[in-house]
């Protein structure tokens, strides 16, 4: 057994807990999880059945943690997990799983399949079987601070631009601010309108906020690759920054997995509860709305629909808020089939969009989104995740669908009443 395989198997043994044992014992091979997975529904290939993606993990469980499995292993009746097998499974665990969690919501015996995939990735990455694309993103985030090599000067340059555009100050490293705003590299490079929107929204709400020079990047590729040690390094920067600046709340940007990484995995990664709150920007906006601190005027009049990011909605619990906010500014808002809690993934979540060799499959899976969009024929598509946005734009371009994609936060900001002079 190679050293890396040995390490991988050891990690797999470590991640197996009572829920995983219970799940494997409950599976009756009914195959209903396949019906919930866009990689199966759009390809018809049974190998993309979610529970099948966990087969090596199941065998490790059986061979290590059950009496019968141990007996079978002793007398040579069971097949050990091999390096080649894990290599073969890489496509199933990364390329064809976006950690969207739809399978976990339909399994009749209650198996939380995505919970297992997330844990299985820990072993896969330890064994060296993670895709190069995600490996690169993790390395850049750990060494440079951003998966896209964005450094502080780039953020500062953007701050200057936004300050010039909006006439509002963009605070950096302000101690005692109420909110610490995080960004994703995608927003810094591709969607600078996000930062301007934040400045105007905070100005209207009368809230103090700041960016942090040592922690501006919210994305965490360590979560996607399944390496808790590296994910901890990345999340610790944010925790340190928030504690140094003594902020009350850290705002996760329009990025799904960044929210999962910080809101749900963060405290578990650093091993203690946070003494600050973590909210997704959409939660903050809805809270402002409820408190009367977010007022808008006018409506978008074209036909709009909303793509629910999996990590925000099904995996994150921010379910109704984006739809409430859409109704605040959109006159002609139509819901796609399966919108909301059961929405279909864009096909590029969970690190999948960083996998170059997975592009063909990703575009195949995008047919699900295409069908959803064709059912409502929107003029524009709104979402609240920069990664979804990029993946949606790529898919729409590939299928020659002329539907611009916009971020919800920036759309809300466009409807803030102009500040009256004097």
């Amino acid at each position: 057994m190679s050293a890396s395989l040995e390490k991988g198997i050891r990690v797999l043994k470590e991640v197996i807990d009572a829920p995983i044992a219970s799940y494997f014992n409950s599976c009756v091979h009914c195959g209903l999880c396949a019906e919930a997975c866009l990689f199966y529904t759009e390809t018809g290939d049974p190998k993309y059945t979610p529970i099948h993606k966990l087969e090596p993990l199941r065998r490790v469980y059986e061979q290590e943690y059950t009496l019968l499995g141990r007996l079978k292993k002793m007398v040579g009746l069971s097949r050990a997990v091999t390096d080649d097998e894990l290599g073969e499974w890489q496509e199933l665990v990364y390329n064809s799983c976006t950690l969207c969690g739809r399978c976990s919501t339909v399994c009749p015996v209650g198996n939380d399949i995505v919970y297992m995939v997330r844990k299985f990735r820990e072993g896969m990455s330890a064994a060296g079987h993670a895709p190069e694309g995600i490996k690169g993103a993790v390395n850049r985030t750990v060494t440079v601070g951003s998966p896209m090599n964005v450094k502080l000067p780039a953020v500062q340059a953007q701050m200057k631009h936004v300050e010039a555009d909006t006439g509002l100050p963009i605070p950096l490293d302000v101690e005692g601010a109420e909110y610490m705003v995080m960004l994703s590299s995608m927003e810094i490079i591709n969607f600078p309108e996000y930062l301007g929107a934040i400045a105007r929204i905070m100005q209207q709400a009368g809230k103090t906020w700041t960016l942090c020079s040592t922690a501006f990047e919210a994305t965490n590729a360590g979560i996607q690759i399944g390496n808790s040690d590296l994910a901890k390094v990345i999340v610790s920067r944010i925790v340190d920054g928030a504690e140094r600046l003594k902020v009350k709340t850290v705002i996760s940007p329009e990025c799904g997995h960044a929210y999962t990484a910080l809101r749900w995995e963060g405290a578990n990664l650093v091993g203690r509860p946070f003494d600050f709150k973590v909210q997704h920007i959409i939660e903050v906006l809805d809270e402002f709305r409820q408190q009367g601190l977010l007022k808008t005027e006018g409506f978008e009049t074209d036909r709009l629909t909303f793509h629910d990011p999996c990590q925000l909605v099904r995996r994150g619990g921010v379910i109704a808020q984006p739809h409430t906010l859409m109704n605040m500014v959109a006159q002609n808002f139509v819901e796609m089939p399966d919108a909301g809690f059961m929405n279909w993934c864009c096909g590029g979540g969970g690190g999948a969009s960083a996998i170059e060799e997975g592009e063909e499959l990703r575009l195949e899976a995008f047919k699900k989104k295409k069908a959803q969009l064709e059912a409502v024929k929107p003029d524009r598509l709104v979402t609240a995740c920069a990664n979804c946005r990029i993946v949606l734009e790529e898919g729409l371009e590939h299928y020659q669908m002329d539907i611009p994609v916009v971020g919800l936060t920036e759309m809300i900001a466009e409807h803030l009443p102009e500040k009256k002079e004097g």
Binding site: I16, D17, A18, P19, I20, A21, S22, Y23, N25, S26, C27, V28, H29, C30, G31, L32, A34, E35, A36, Y40, G44, P46, K47, T49, I51, H52, Y65, T66, L67, L68, S104, T105, V106, C107, P108, V109, G110, N111, D112, Y115, R263, W264, E265, G266, A267, N268, G271, R272, P273, F274, K277, V278, R314, R315, G316, G317, I319, D338, F341, M342
Partner: protein, 219 residues
């Protein structure tokens, strides 16, 4: 061994062995699974009505939106044979008498003709889900020896019980003995095959509901 000796053995020694393996097996497997434990979740919980372990234990008995249409045979066939099995096992007078003899517990039985009809419907549903397993590419792909074996050991008690009741094929005593033997086979293998989902399904649904309920997601 005469028919009567065979029947006496399966009713006495055979049943004792099977019930013992079943009870110890269930206990062992439950300890083996749930003693693995899990780490506490240190993230701040979000409280949402309807999002909890208990909610999911019940909610998952119903098909989530859109799923019935995608896989009608799994759901309808599944409902019929599970409910059918429950009616046949717990509603048939002689079964209740057996339980009363073993534990002292008893409850009113259902009319024999109704149970007889239910057994036929249950077997029909089981044949349909078996055909579905053979026909549907995903189910066939996932199926291992255990899946076919589990189907057989579940089907045999219903079939032999019904045949004994109908006095078909073999003398009543022989068929009854075969029926009891098939139930014993089912009891012995249940803790060690996928049939153990009968026990772990509650734990699995609960964990799923609890883990996601912590995030305020009613799964």
């Amino acid at each position: 061994m005469t028919d009567l000796q065979f029947l006496t053995w399966v009713r006495g020694t055979g049943l004792n062995i099977a019930v013992t393996i079943f009870l110890l097996g269930v206990l062992w497997r439950l300890v083996e699974i749930y003693s693995l434990g899990r780490k506490p979740d240190l993230s701040a919980p979000r409280h949402t009505p309807g999002a909890s372990g208990l909610h999911t234990v019940f909610r998952r008995s119903l098909p989530p939106p859109g799923m019935l249409k995608r896989s009608p045979v799994s759901y309808i066939g599944g409902y019929i044979f599970h409910i059918g099995l429950a009616i046949v096992v717990f509603g048939f007078g002689p079964h209740i008498l057996l339980v009363k003899g073993l534990t002292g517990l008893s409850w009113p039985g259902l009319p024999s003709q109704f149970v007889d009809m239910t057994a036929v419907v249950t077997m029909a549903a089981m044949v349909v889900v078996l055909a579905d397993r053979i026909n549907k590419p995903v189910k066939r792909f996932l199926s291992t020896f255990e899946d076919w074996f589990a189907w057989v050991v579940t089907f045999l008690p219903v079939l032999t019980g019904w045949m004994a009741f109908q006095h078909l094929l073999l003398p009543y005593t022989t068929m009854l003995a075969l029926h009891i033997l098939s139930v014993e086979l089912l009891l012995v293998v249940l803790p060690f095959t996928k049939l153990f989902h009968a026990f772990t399904l509650i734990g699995s649904r609960w964990y799923n509901g609890r883990v996601n309920g912590h995030k305020g997601v009613p799964v």
